[in-house]
Symmetry: C2
Subunit: 220 residues, 2 copies
DNA sequence: CGCAAAAGTTTGATGAGTCAAACTCTGAAA
DNA sequence: TTTCAGAGTTTGACTCATCAAACTTTTGCG
């Protein structure tokens, strides 16, 4: 139904809306996330508005309509089920599956998607810990607090990794801080903007607070 | 590399070349197979020629270059591996997987494709009995003779089904004449243009010679 | 407040892929 | 050998998605 480009804009708008308190997305941020110029984003956003997928007014930002949000959640479901399949069934490295899923998500039909879901046993989250929306479009709000909210000596468990960069994921993997992993904060060095964390059964690793902010966790 | 449209033209040209003694494709046939007007096909064929994927001259038909054929075989490999996966792993009906694979074949990367191949145990043919090209681009020439070449009383085994129409495949499935199935010709009625065939362990079925021509078999 | 920088918009262009319709060529039948 | 139907080609137009560059609005800082 929607073209590949339209789906990418919807997904980006959904992601940006989660991150902003107003639920709105700016053109600059949207254009950057989709990988186009702001002029192109403006043009496309007008089309989305004409198709009732978004609400938009000049210089006023853009937000998804209910219809647009449903479409975005559907794309998210496709993306995350595919990622899960690539890791679980095909044994691909979780660091690379994001980009692969990015291509496949536009080509998979409802029939294949539901077969995939069945084959995987209806998983509730993907390899990065992100929730997989249900076929009806319900999505569990991802909870947890960034690793930077924890203090020296506190213990917890990784919930999800809020960054799809392959190199970062490889680092996380090597540190043992995959979703589900229990950890303990060894130290925080505010001046150096770093902290030291030990995953169960691993040596402690040092990481920048900026990196730690991408690791979302919960209290043990 | 090649766009989706280009890949579809290459695939169609490859298929048409197999069916014609000259190895050439006419614009009408090409356009029909791709699903565009002949004018569009002419335009695209010129682009393919400019990209050294095809050789073409005005009013003279079109044929793939070595490079174009390699690209076509690669698409065939993707298509057939995906079909095999959809049937074997996801348990989808073999009658519907052709159309699904048609969409996915353009979106699958080499990394995912090879993982799929490994997961499936490097199959040599797809659910319809068509050979799957190797990663290096080698493809076994599909042998066999149409069911219409057999005579009353002869026995044989189905090799492949040379038609992807879902309804026809459902009929073949119901008759027990899937690839690999042994059969015996019960009778041939040249006047009525039909024949009666019995698959092992099944009741005999009557089918038109036109249909039987699409069922490729070998002597027992 | 005033004004520059940042954000956003518009415009004119491009390339891919397509169609409809006018036109041209080829080949087989009369 | 003529002719005409069918195959093939060309042209002009359109949509989608994009960019560069000129332009406008908003915003935050001094």
């Amino acid at each position: 139904m929607a073209t590949e480009a339209v789906e990418n804009y919807l997904k980006a708008m959904y992601t940006l809306a989660r991150e902003s308190p107003t639920g709105e997305a700016g053109m600059k941020a949207l254009a950057t996330m989709v990988g186009v110029t702001t002029g192109t984003a403006t043009t496309m956003v007008k089309r989305l508005a004409a198709a009732k997928l978004a609400r938009y007014e000049r210089f006023g930002g853009v937000r998804l309509t209910t219809k647009g949000e449903a479409a975005a959640v559907d794309i998210l479901r496709r993306h995350r089920l595919i990622e899960t399949f690539l890791v679980q069934t095909l044994k691909l490295d979780w660091a690379v599956v994001h980009d692969e899923a990015e291509r496949l998500e536009h080509a998979i039909s409802p029939v294949v998607l539901e077969a995939l879901d069945r084959h995987l046993g209806h998983p509730s989250s993907d390899p990065h810990g992100d929730p997989i929306p249900s076929a009806e479009g319900r999505i569990r709000e991802p909870g947890g607090r960034p690793l930077t909210d924890f203090e020296t000596g506190q213990r917890g468990r990784v919930v999800r990794i809020a960054d799809q960069d392959a190199d970062f994921l490889k680092f996380v993997d090597a540190s043992g801080l995959r979703p589900g992993a229990p950890f303990e904060i060894r130290s925080v060095d505010a001046a150096a903007q770093t902290m030291s964390v030990r995953a169960r059964g691993r040596d402690p690793v040092a990481l920048a607070l900026a990196a730690a902010r991408k690791i979302v966790c919960e209290r043990e």
